[in-house]
């Protein structure tokens, strides 16, 4: 089956509380498909981290999920400041988040590392001043 379920979301950059809306909706669809709880959890965590990143660093953006029978492709697109040094940003604990953001419990420098940890493939394309696109793929169990 080449067809997929395509879900698109605007991620509101002004609102921390609404971050997680896209991953919540994707989670519902995966559960209704009967995807295993371990895979649902991996998708939820990877996607939630991506949404939060877009809120913290890029004033929001767009999340697109394409669900296939055996995997999900997630694309997170923003027009934020971009990432100057991707390999540095991938290091656990590295963050450019402000003190204000940290005081909310975010900005621990685990966003990108966690997205990598919970996905099976991750690609980052970023241009400083133009924005960032993160592509994630999570394979389902069985």
């Amino acid at each position: 089956m080449n067809e997929c379920i395509r879900l698109e979301y605007d991620v509101d950059g002004e609102n921390f509380a609404s971050a997680g809306h896209a991953s919540e909706s994707v989670k519902r669809t995966l559960k209704q498909m009967g995807v295993s709880s371990l895979s649902v959890r991996r998708v939820a965590i990877a996607m939630y981290e991506g949404e939060i990143n877009m809120v913290i660093h890029a004033h929001g953006g767009r999340a697109v999920a394409e669900i296939y029978p055996d995997h999900i492709d997630i694309r997170l697109e923003d027009h934020g400041p971009g990432i100057a040094d991707i390999s540095l940003a991938m290091q656990a604990g590295y963050s450019t988040a402000t003190e204000n953001i940290r005081s909310l419990g975010f900005g621990a420098g685990m966003g990108l590392p966690n997205m990598k940890k919970y996905s099976d493939d991750m690609q980052i394309e970023s241009t400083v001043g133009e924005g960032t696109t993160v592509k994630l793929r999570v394979d389902f169990e069985e």
């Binding site: 089956m1 067809e3 379920i5 395509r6 879900l7 997680g20 991953s23 919540e24 989670k27 669809t29 559960k31 209704q32 498909m33 009967g34 995807v35 709880s37 371990l38 649902v40 959890r41 939820a44 965590i45 939630y48 669900i67 029978p69």
Partner: protein, 412 residues
């Protein structure tokens, strides 16, 4: 055996408003032909529809008190919340004497069993590699909700029986040891909520295990008060202390565990919100124990109570101050963890899946997405489903055309 329906619709009283449908945490109510129908495969028996129905059309179901008479030796299991139902009660022994006067031969306080469950939980949390945060399994509606919609949290559930079942098991063991024939013993839990009626019926009554029937606090209330009023000086029969009675309200279980790093919350919306956080992994390593109760203010908020939950909570606090008995331990009852741990892990429910076959489910979900594009997304409820999405899913699952009065009016 078909599971007992512990909440039913009184169709004559139902006016077909959408209040209960809106409040249902599992989207298990539809308005069909002007009546609020319950989809039992998605119902977790939480009682939220009973609580919210203005016309009393949602009726809880429980066993009749007459059933008690059919057993030669009758044991009552009062839940801690029962003790919060009485005005000016300054001694829990009035309740115990009242139950004996009602015809029970013995009273075993569920609060006492709760103290033993606490002792067991402490040992398990010290010794075994339970997934943190450990999620309390005292509220059966929360457990059902996890098994229905939050499978990813099932391996965080505390694998220990709830206090009512432990009370029944221990009461029966002790009665048999005293020489009472097992077949003569009838054990009756007096429930504050339909969720406990349901879970104990499914696991216990229908399998002829320890509990013979589940009564309602509201059903026995007036006959119990009548007996209590005649008691001059009650004997000191109660064995439950401040710790056990605390289980009936505000985070009593967490408090009794003596943990610092725990979260507790109650009420349907709060529980759903916290489950979402847990399911996103936000509390992994962030808390040791999570206690959730579907009813506002814990078991005192269950729909089979008589009193307002916050008034009952205050009374229980006053009463607990007088119950200066230290918590019971497994050792003092000659028990170990094996008495408490689940015999088998409960199966997650597949009722939320659109099909058992993933490919078929996907085709259905694609159709749901197609229909959603046509629906206005305002979740008005006029079609009889709680959300536009639910309506789209219903049409995909059951056939028929989209039935939306707002379809042309609201352009997306």
């Amino acid at each position: 055996m078909a599971p007992l329906k512990t909440v039913v619709l009184d169709a004559e009283k139902c006016i077909g408003c959408i209040t209960c449908m809106r409040r249902c945490p599992t989207e298990a109510i539809r308005i069909e032909n002007g009546k609020a129908k319950i989809l039992y495969d998605k119902c977790i028996n939480c009682g939220e529809c009973v609580r919210s129905c203005k016309g009393g059309a949602k009726r809880p179901v429980y066993d009749s008190f007459d059933l008690v008479e059919s057993y030669p030796y009758k044991i009552a299991l009062p839940s801690p919340s029962l003790f919060g139902q009485f005005n000016n009660l300054d001694d829990p022994n009035y309740v115990i004497e009242g139950l004996l006067a009602l015809g029970f031969d013995e009273v075993f306080e569920v609060g006492l069993a709760a103290e033993l469950v606490t002792d067991c939980t402490k040992k398990l949390m010290e010794g075994r590699a339970l997934n943190r945060p450990v999620i309390s399994t005292a509220c059966p509606a929360v457990v059902e909700l996890i098994l229905l919609k939050f499978h990813e949290l099932a391996d965080h559930l505390l694998p220990v029986y709830a206090p009512a079942k432990i009370a029944a098991k221990l009461a029966k063991k002790q009665a048999v040891e005293r020489g009472i024939p097992a077949d003569d013993i009838g054990i009756f839990f007096i429930s504050p909520c339909p969720a406990k009626v349901y879970s104990l019926h499914r696991e216990e009554v229908s399998n002829e295990k320890y509990i013979s029937g589940v009564l309602s606090q509201s059903d026995i209330y007036f006959r119990l008060v009548e007996k209590m009023n005649k008691i001059r000086t009650p004997r000191k029969l109660g064995k439950c202390g401040y710790s056990g009675i605390g289980w009936g309200s505000s985070g009593g279980e967490s408090n009794s565990l003596g943990l610092g790093n725990y979260i507790h919350c109650s009420g349907v919306r709060n529980v759903l919100g916290l489950l979402k956080e847990l399911s996103d992994g936000k509390l992994d390593g962030g808390a040791d124990f999570v206690e959730m109760n579907m009813c506002p203010g814990w078991c005192v908020g269950g729909v089979l109570n008589v009193e307002n939950p916050f008034i009952a909570r205050n009374r229980m606090r006053q009463l607990a101050d007088k119950m200066r008995i230290p918590p019971a331990t497994m050792q003092s009852y000659g028990l170990d963890e094996n008495f408490f741990i689940w015999d088998k892990i409960p199966e997650p429910s597949t009722s939320f899946q659109l099909d058992k076959n993933r490919f078929v489910a996907m085709q259905k979900l694609m159709l749901v997405e197609e229909y959603l594009k046509k629906l206005p997304g305002i979740d008005c409820g006029a079609c009889g489903a709680p959300t536009c999405r639910c309506h789209a899913e219903d049409v995909v699952m059951n056939g028929g055309p989209l039935d939306c009065v707002k379809m042309d009016e609201v352009k997306k």
